[in-house]
């Protein structure tokens, strides 16, 4: 039981991170129907920028943890959003209206470019990061096994929940969210009605990148090691999460993220660490076979 609770906590934390990345995939997919393969690498860049900002904080002598966190968050989010914007502007916007595969290939190309850019600019070695938030509270204890909820895990979960609510509010009520939903339904009609489609798509990428940057920051603190390759695996898992939850659906992305996190944590705890990714993909396949639109996805109605 105690072991299970501990894995539940770990899985939820992991799932929160995946969920944040998955939102970027699901929003972009919802609006322009493409798989943004470079999104995982944008998240990796977010992690690097958070890490560099942490180092700069150290150099400037800022040691008060909340201020450190706030600085990392703001700087990483703003600068990573610029990456999201640039990727869209350079690689996807010129291909709007061409075949579905063309942007997919530029996305793969962009992903290779970003990975190698970071490898060149920051060196290929893994970067260890010193823990910022230490300690935690003990929830249960039995026969020497301590169930611990670390402060960091609390921060991650609380931050994710806060961001998700803010985000849901943004999509549901603001003009920006309305424009996005309009573009998602019918881009041509939206542009006829005065929605600036290009700008809306750019904003979607910026928002996705910003959330990915938050995830990157969390991962930097949580796993305390970064290298240029982390974006690939996390990206695939997050995309899996987005598909699992029903691509195009925001709550679906979050649900999918949490599920993938839980599956991964439970599988590694009870079966084997090596096959945790196989388990995640296997469950995805099973879900898609029985519910081809994902858990919360709307069924696609095809007009002939």
């Amino acid at each position: 039981m105690e072991y299970f609770v501990q894995q539940l906590i770990n899985g939820l934390t992991l799932g929160a991170i995946y969920g944040l990345i998955a939102i970027g995939y699901t929003m972009v997919y919802g609006i322009i129907g493409m798989v943004n393969f470079a999104h995982g690498d944008v998240y990796m860049i977010g992690a690097f920028q958070a890490m560099i900002m942490l180092l700069i904080c150290g150099a400037l002598g800022i040691s008060w943890v909340p201020l450190q966190l706030a600085l990392m968050l703001v700087v990483a989010v703003v600068l990573t959003a610029a990456y999201g914007w640039t990727v869209e502007r350079v690689a996807y916007r010129p291909l709007r209206g061409s075949s579905r595969l063309a942007p997919l290939i530029t996305a793969i190309g962009m992903s290779i470019v970003l990975q190698n850019f970071v490898q060149l600019a920051q060196g290929p070695r893994p970067k260890p990061v010193e823990p910022v938030i230490r300690g935690g509270i003990q929830l249960m204890q039995k026969e020497g096994f301590i169930v611990q909820l670390s402060y960091l895990q609390m921060v991650i979960i609380v931050l994710t929940v806060a961001l998700m609510s803010a985000f849901a509010y943004l999509i549901a009520t603001t003009p920006l969210g309305r424009a996005q939903r309009a573009c998602e339904q019918d881009m041509k009609m939206a542009s006829l009605l005065g929605v600036n489609v290009d700008r809306t798509i750019s904003q979607t990428f910026v928002m996705g990148a910003a959330l990915a940057a938050v995830a990157g920051l969390m991962v930097t603190l949580y796993w305390s090691v970064n290298d240029f390759y982390i974006g690939f695996v996390a990206g695939i898992k997050a995309f899996t999460a987005a598909v699992l939850g029903g691509i195009g659906s925001l709550p679906g992305a979050m649900l999918g993220g949490v599920l993938i996190g839980l599956i991964e944590a439970m599988w590694s705890a009870y079966f084997s660490t090596e096959y945790k990714d196989v388990a995640a993909f296997g469950i995805l396949v099973l879900v898609l076979i029985f519910r081809p639109t994902g858990l919360l996805g709307r069924p696609e109605i095809e007009k002939v």
Binding site: G33, V35, I45, F48, M51, I52, M53, L55, I56, A59, L79, A82, T86, V90, A91, P94, L95, S99, L101, A102, L104, I105, T106, I108, G109, M110, I112, V113, Q115, N116, F117, V118, Q119, L120, Q122, G123, R125, P126, K127, P128, V129, I236, F239, T240, V243, I247, S272, E274, Y275, D277, V278, F281, G282, L284, V285, L288, I289, P292, E300, V304
Partner: protein, 523 residues
């Protein structure tokens, strides 16, 4: 037309220079945001010390100057002032790129390692360049060339004047015709060159090996073309079948001691049955769901290969795969007792090149078989059904084509050729490990298909030469190789969104007068 006029009118009211300056300012801001942390600070992970950093603000400042300047020129170009972009772009290219190439050719490029262990090259005694690393200077030089090229095309278009819609359509048609004719002529030429090449004087070991590698990808590209180009199924895990082919080949060869020509069909069969096995549950899915599931399967197979120690020997891989023989005659200087080797049988001098050239011909013929089968299949009902399925699944269903079975055959067919290619890979390397079957491979193969122009066989071959040959040529650039590779992928796709030789037309057309007519055989 009127829109273009209105836009031009609006631009002239506010000075074009002001507009360009505004864009340049925005670009400068973006470049600053992109580079300030990622380029300005280089983190260093030294052994036993906490993470530290060194600053590189000079590079950031140069980028903030150069990139917006290029943007300024492009903005001017867009508003009809193209000459400055052309001139300055060319000057920038010759200065930045030329001086680096000159330094490289005269041997005045030096190398040093910085404290993070990365190799930094620099120009000795050359003209002053903005970046310490000459490759980055060269990249910016290529960027200048890009600016000049855009200005050049604008100037050319301006001289030709605005086209009417019909003229543009005619031009498009002409281009399509050109692509088709080019592939008709280029195909046999490429094959002839490929057959003759090992006998030409400059066919050394390195060249033949590179060509063998390229041909492997050509074959994989043609195999995937059946799935993606013909049947329109987006497969992101094609490398899984390549891996299955290679591993089953290795198991048959090492454990059962079968020879290459016995293992090859078995490995193809294994891969094809894996295709059916994996395809069966997922082929009901459409479009991108299929993509992610195939991606997942690709990763799953790699993970299984990495962890199933007793069967695949894990990350260490399987070695000692017996070498290829010339239909039973080994390529060895001293063959084992009682057998005859290739050079003894034919009474020629022994050379290590013989085996390599033979491997080259094996993959060439395998690739050509793939090509031939694909071309013939397109003319059979099943090939027609694939193409119809690609265009409209619902209509196919209405016409009584079973989509799942049709897709499954395409999937199995593609998988089989991947299995053949995998066997070839295993026998060429003599050693396989999960390392060789990463997602990047799938991505490269898919890019070859899409860049080539989906469905175009010659296009696939050209794209493979470009995408696989380019990194081999650029081996000098070491770490920058993949950066160029990714950049090239993006640029080619932006330049020709429908692929290098795109002429995706159905094999059968309904003529306007109501007659069916069959197009002549095309590649």
């Amino acid at each position: 037309m009127s829109i273009a006029h209105a836009r031009a009118g609006a631009a002239t009211r506010t000075s074009p220079y002001l507009v360009a300056l505004k864009e340049a300012g925005l670009t400068a801001f973006i470049v600053f945001m992109l580079s300030i942390l990622m380029v300005g600070f280089q983190t260093q992970a030294l052994q036993g010390q906490p993470l530290s950093y060194v600053t590189r603000f000079d590079a950031v400042i140069w980028s903030i100057v150069i990139v917006p300047f290029g943007r300024f020129l492009l903005a001017l170009d867009r508003q009809g002032i193209s000459k400055p972009a052309l001139v300055i772009g060319l000057v920038g290219f010759f200065y930045l790129f030329g001086s680096v190439v000159l330094a490289w050719m005269t041997g005045s490029l030096g190398e040093t390692t910085d404290n993070s262990g990365a190799i930094v090259t620099y120009v000795i005694g050359g003209p002053p360049l903005p970046y310490v690393d000459p490759i980055i200077d060269a990249i910016f030089g290529l960027g200048s060339l890009f600016v000049a090229a855009i200005a050049w095309s604008t100037l050319r278009r301006a001289r030709r004047g605005t086209l009417t819609l019909e003229a543009r359509e005619a031009q498009e048609h002409q281009r399509m015709n050109w692509a088709r004719r080019a592939s008709l002529i280029l195909g046999p030429i490429l094959v002839a060159v490929a057959v003759a090449l090992p006998f030409t004087p400059w066919a050394d070991r390195a060249l033949v090996e590179t060509l063998t590698l390229i041909l492997t990808y050509v074959m994989l590209g043609w195999g995937l073309n059946i799935v993606v180009g013909l049947a329109g199924l987006l497969d992101l895990g094609y490398v899984a079948f390549y891996a299955v082919g290679a591993y089953s080949f290795a198991k048959f060869s090492v454990d059962l001691g079968l020879g290459f020509w016995q293992c090859l069909p078995l490995a193809g069969l294994m891969a094809a049955s894996f295709g059916v096995l994996l395809g069966f549950p997922v082929l009901r899915l459409r479009g991108d769901y299929l993509a992610i599931v195939t991606l997942g399967f690709g990763e799953m197979i790699r993970i299984v290969l990495e962890n199933w120690q007793s069967f695949t020997n894990g990350p260490n891989g399987i070695g000692g795969i017996s070498r290829i023989t010339f239909f039973g005659l080994p390529f060895e200087r001293t063959p084992p007792e009682g057998t005859e080797s290739f050079h003894q049988f034919f009474g020629i001098e022994f050379s290590t090149l013989q085996r390599i050239v033979f491997l080259y011909y094996v993959i060439l013929s395998l690739a050509l078989v793939t090509n031939f089968v694909t071309i013939r299949l397109r003319k059979l009902p099943i090939g027609r059904a694939w193409e119809a399925l690609r265009e409209d699944e619902t209509a196919c269903r209405a016409l009584g084509i079973n989509p799942t079975n049709t897709k499954l055959t395409a999937f199995a067919m593609g998988a089989m050729f991947a299995g053949f290619a995998g066997s070839f890979f295993a026998v060429r390397q003599g050693f396989i490990s999960p390392e060789s079957f990463k997602f990047l491979e799938s991505a490269i193969i898919l890019s070859i298909v899409v860049l080539g122009g989906m469905g175009s066989q010659v296009g696939v071959a050209l794209a493979a030469i470009l995408l696989v040959g380019l990194p081999e040529v650029l081996r000098e650039l070491a770490l920058y190789r993949m950066l160029f590779f990714g950049g090239a992928m993006v640029m080619i796709m932006l330049w020709r969104p429908r692929g290098l030789l795109a002429h995706r037309e159905p094999t059968i057309l309904l003529d306007q007068s109501g007659w069916f007519w069959r197009r002549k055989a095309k590649q």
